[in-house]
């Protein structure tokens, strides 16, 4: 009897346990998600700031945690993916020190006024940066994204040599985790024996030229195949890019690793180049509107001279009723300094004619085809102190100098603030060449390929719908770009993650869960700024 009772009690206990709810098809059951032909056990991500999780003008922990490789790795974990380590910064302040001296700026945060209206991005000063570049990290890291890296940097020995950081010969981010002073990024990546990799490189090969308003050289114009001779704001030669990219792929696939390649978006998809309008000068602006008659009277004399020397299309005039385009210096124009000076001398005298000639020798008003960089917004319509001092030094009165030194109004916006059509063409030609290399190698090597450029273009032209809204490339409010106007938000990283996962599914048949971009944040609000 007792034994029987125990049996019944056991059945009763089982009955109680059976009360625990259980799904018909629990997702943690083997086979729910699969890796297809890929093996995600060791995933290494290579790239630049986009891969590193750089955002808001800085690298910081939460940005790194929301980098697309880190999000992708969590999805890989559903189908055999292993640990994914990142060279995390020391804080969420951003910025970094070299030997105790700050060499990298803190992150941007979005500041609001007391009424709750946005003021704009500002550098966070609520805490001091604590990441010390000279304290190198131990071990290797799955996320090998190095902010600032161009294609050829990944194969450059010494790129992580901390001794070279101060002189600009090495990269401070890579210096933190390079395996040796002579290590290469690709070497450190391959040493981890990746079974799967992602490669998103080449953005900076055009972007540093673009964000600097095209002050660098285009090494495709006069082919320059020696990247060691490049300036930091140059466009990389497409042949150099093709060579180094191919070399990177060969190294990564040497042991049979599979991977995914991402291509390069157009600068016209990025708010850094699309936020500031070419015609921002409003007659309603109290600092500008009342000056319009005086300015137009002055420019009338100049316009006559433009007509007289055969370039009437360069005439400058501000509208009293609508927004006017800024005045820019277009280096692709014929330099008419001498002719202009000659034409103006009878009216203005030699000194002022020479000044005018030099100031407007390559000037014109901007058009819809010109892209003003984000950083121009804070200087347009403001007095250019350097030019002012220069003009005073040349003998102009304070008043005259002041009138001639207003950025974009009387003093043409310098090259670094404007991407002219010629500069855009140089960028776009290089990008097209780079992307052809990337897509071609993906096909040739049977690698997955994600057309990130297409998604970013969609974000910039209508937006990408997500739960509860859309992701657009609108600065601050669009949800796609962080406060530096160039780098993605966590939400955009989630979008990129889905693109990468889709590409991997298409190529390798992997079935992985996607992420919901609406679960990922955008920009950070904070008023701890000076």
């Amino acid at each position: 009897m007792m034994r029987k009772n125990i049996k019944y009690l056991a059945i009763l206990a089982l009955g109680i346990i059976a009360c625990e709810p259980e799904f018909d098809n629990p997702i943690d059951e083997a086979g729910t998600y699969t890796s297809g032909e890929a093996d995600f056990s060791t995933y290494v991500a290579l790239g630049n700031s986009l891969t590193a999780g750089f955002a808001d003008g800085a690298l910081y922990i939460t940005g790194q945690e929301n980098s697309y490789p880190n999000i992708v790795s969590k999805q890989f974990a559903f189908a055999g993916g292993g640990d994914f380590t990142q060279p995390l910064m020391s804080d969420n302040t951003g910025g970094a020190l070299l030997g105790g001296t700050q060499i990298l700026d803190n992150r941007f945060v979005l500041v609001f006024d007391a009424d709750g209206n946005p003021v704009g991005p500002s550098v966070y000063t609520g805490a001091a940066p604590t990441t010390e570049i000279t304290s190198s990290l131990d071990g290797s890291f799955n996320n090998m994204g190095v902010p600032g890296a161009k294609s050829f940097h990944l194969a450059a020995p010494g790129y992580g040599n901390v001794a070279g950081v101060a002189g600009g010969l090495a990269n401070p981010y890579y210096a933190r985790f390079a395996s040796s002073t002579t290590a290469t990024v690709i070497g450190d990546a391959v040493a981890q024996n990746p079974t799967f990799f992602s490669l998103w490189i080449g953005n900076n090969d055009i972007l540093s030229y673009a964000t600097s308003g095209g002050v660098g050289a285009d090494n495709n114009e006069v082919p320059n195949l020696d990247p060691t001779s490049y300036g930091s704001n140059d466009i990389t030669n497409t042949t150099v890019f093709a060579g180094v990219y191919s070399q990177l792929i060969d190294a990564l696939t040497a042991k049979g690793a599979k991977g995914v390649l991402l291509n390069l978006p157009s600068v016209t998809s990025i708010p850094f180049f699309t936020t500031v309008p070419y015609a921002p000068l409003s007659p309603l602006n109290p600092d500008f509107g009342p000056q319009i008659p005086t300015l137009n009277a002055t420019y009338a004399g100049l316009n006559l001279a433009f007509a007289g020397i055969g370039v009437p299309e360069r005439a400058i005039e501000f509208s009293a009723t609508g927004a006017s385009a800024v005045v820019i210096k277009d280096e692709s124009l014929d330099d008419k300094t001498a002719q202009l000076t000659a034409a103006l001398t009878p009216t203005f005298g030699a000194l002022k004619a020479a000044l005018f000639g030099a100031q407007y020798g390559q000037a014109r008003q901007a058009t819809a085809d010109d892209l003003l960089v984000l950083t121009s917004s804070s200087i347009i319509g403001k007095l250019n102190e350097a030019r002012f001092a220069e003009l005073v030094g040349l003998g102009l009165s304070q008043e005259e100098a002041g009138q001639l030194a207003v950025n974009g109004v009387s003093f043409p916006l310098e090259d670094k603030y404007v991407l002219t059509p010629a500069e855009q063409t140089a960028i776009e030609n290089a990008r097209t060449g780079f992307n052809a290399t990337i897509a071609g190698l993906a096909t040739a090597k049977g690698l997955a390929f994600y057309d990130a450029a297409a998604d970013l273009a969609q974000a910039a032209n209508g937006g990408i719908p997500i739960d509860g809204g859309a992701i657009t490339s609108e600065f601050v409010t669009g949800g796609g770009f962080s406060l530096d106007g160039v780098h993605p938000t966590p939400r955009a990283h989630a979008l990129i993650t889905n693109g990468v996962l889709d590409a991997i599914k298409a190529t390798y048949g992997a079935n992985l869960p996607r992420v919901n971009p609406a679960d990922y944040g955008t920009i950070t609000l904070n008023n701890d700024v000076n």
Partner: protein
């Protein structure tokens, strides 16, 4: 003895029920064991809750029933498309009931009841996928009710009385899916209040066509719990004038405890009692959970519940002089409409399986034991009326499955 064990096993592995929304139907050990029927069962002082009209037909002068159950609830969640999954921390709720009735004379009885018909305790892991809807919630309402019961004739009686409610709430959730402070900590809000009181009432009637056949009716009024000046704590919000300040402020909110109408019958045949109850719960009063905070922010959460029904069956068998066995079943329809399935009250249609027994220690004192098991269908559901940080409407959903298991013990005393 062996038959008895088999019977217990049978009822144990069969199933039992809760009720929809945050109604918790555990208002008497004997009733629970019979599928929570009772509007027409003349059995014990549990009638204070089920139908005060029936108290006057109890044989004894004094009747006391006390009991408590431990409710073990589990909810699991997953979303196959996103690979997210979660489960609630098995929470244990302890609804209790205390009832007493006293026969003043042949035509009048009075009684008093203390019971907890509403409550909810759900604890998801902090910052889980649905944390913008709920991290954890604890609701409780204690009803205190004096009743009086009048016998109009041997065939008809009425009864009823006022209800005094005291309630408490503690609710935490994240501010949105994405809002964090600079360090990435999720911004969240806790609201807490207790000693929220209000009044309601219930009225019942009983009709006895024959000595063995009872028909019951009972109506319990709706009671709106109004929180004024409760404590709200904002944590981990970024330091920005665009978001609420961290710290403590007040909140106002209303939570309805809906009215419930019950009609039912019972029939006694030799050693058997059969009971059937039909509950109509007037959940349509629960339109929206709106919170207004002292710092100027507010939270609007459409609920849009609909009225719902519960169908209950119960059976009692007098096995021996000392042992009475009970079993029951109920079908509980959810008041939650499609698109409004919020994880703070993850209730879909369910089947309840109940069982229990009474053991008469002496002719005056009996120990009552009951249990119920509430089985919910696996359901793909979503809450489509969330509001994101920029005012957009967003959805949160997946597959849910819940269960509840509640063993309980009580005492019945009569003299």
């Amino acid at each position: 003895m062996r038959k008895l064990l088999l019977f217990i096993l049978f009822v144990s592995v069969t199933l039992v029920t809760y009720a929809g929304g945050y109604r918790v139907s555990v208002q008497g050990q004997r009733a629970v064991a019979m599928g929570h029927t009772g509007v027409a069962v003349v059995n014990s002082a549990e009638l204070v809750f089920f139908n005060p009209a029936g108290l006057v037909y109890l044989e004894n002068k004094l009747n006391v029933s006390v009991g408590a159950s431990g409710i073990f609830t589990n909810v699991i969640y997953q979303n196959q498309g996103l690979g997210t999954s979660s489960e609630t921390d098995s929470s244990v709720g302890t609804p209790l009931s205390l009832y007493g009735s006293y026969k003043v004379n042949d035509w009048m009885s009075i009684g008093l009841g203390v019971y907890t018909p509403f409550g909810s305790e759900v604890e998801w892991p902090t910052d889980w996928a649905g944390s913008h809807l709920v991290n954890n919630i604890e609701l409780a309402a204690i009803y205190i009710q004096p009743v009086v019961s009048f016998k109009i004739s041997d065939h008809f009686s009425i009864g009823g009385g006022p209800i005094y409610v005291t309630g408490s709430v503690n609710f935490n959730r994240n501010a949105s899916r994405t809002t964090t402070d600079l360090e990435g900590n999720r911004s969240n809000i806790t609201v807490d209040d207790s000693g929220v009181t209000n009044w309601g009432w219930s009225i019942g009637a009983m009709f006895n066509p024959t000595e063995d056949f009872h028909i019951g009716f009972n109506y319990r009024s709706e009671i709106i719990m109004e929180v004024e000046g409760g404590e709200a704590t904002f944590s981990n919000f970024p330091n920005s004038p665009a978001t609420p300040a961290n710290g403590t402020t007040t909140f106002n909110a209303e939570l309805p405890l809906p009215a419930e109408l019950t009609i039912g019958l019972s029939y006694e045949y030799e050693k058997w009692v059969f009971a059937f109850d039909y509950n109509r719960q007037f959940w349509d009063v629960y339109k929206s959970l709106d919170l207004t905070f002292g710092n100027g922010s507010n939270s609007v959460n459409p609920r849009n519940y609909k009225n719902s029904s519960v169908y209950r069956l119960g059976l009692q068998y007098q096995a021996t002089d000392k042992i009475t066995l009970r079993a029951g079943y109920y079908r509980d329809e959810t008041p939650v409409q499609p698109g409004y399935f919020a994880p703070e009250t993850p209730r879909n249609d369910s089947d309840g399986f109940t069982g229990g027994l009474s053991f008469a220690v002496t002719p005056k004192l009996a120990i009552d034991a009951s249990f119920f098991y509430l089985r919910f269908e696996e359901v793909d559901a979503s809450y489509d009326f969330g509001t994101n940080s920029t005012g957009g409407r967003e959805s949160f959903g997946g597959t849910y499955k819940s269960s509840a298991f509640a063993p309980g013990l009580g005492l019945t005393y009569k003299m």
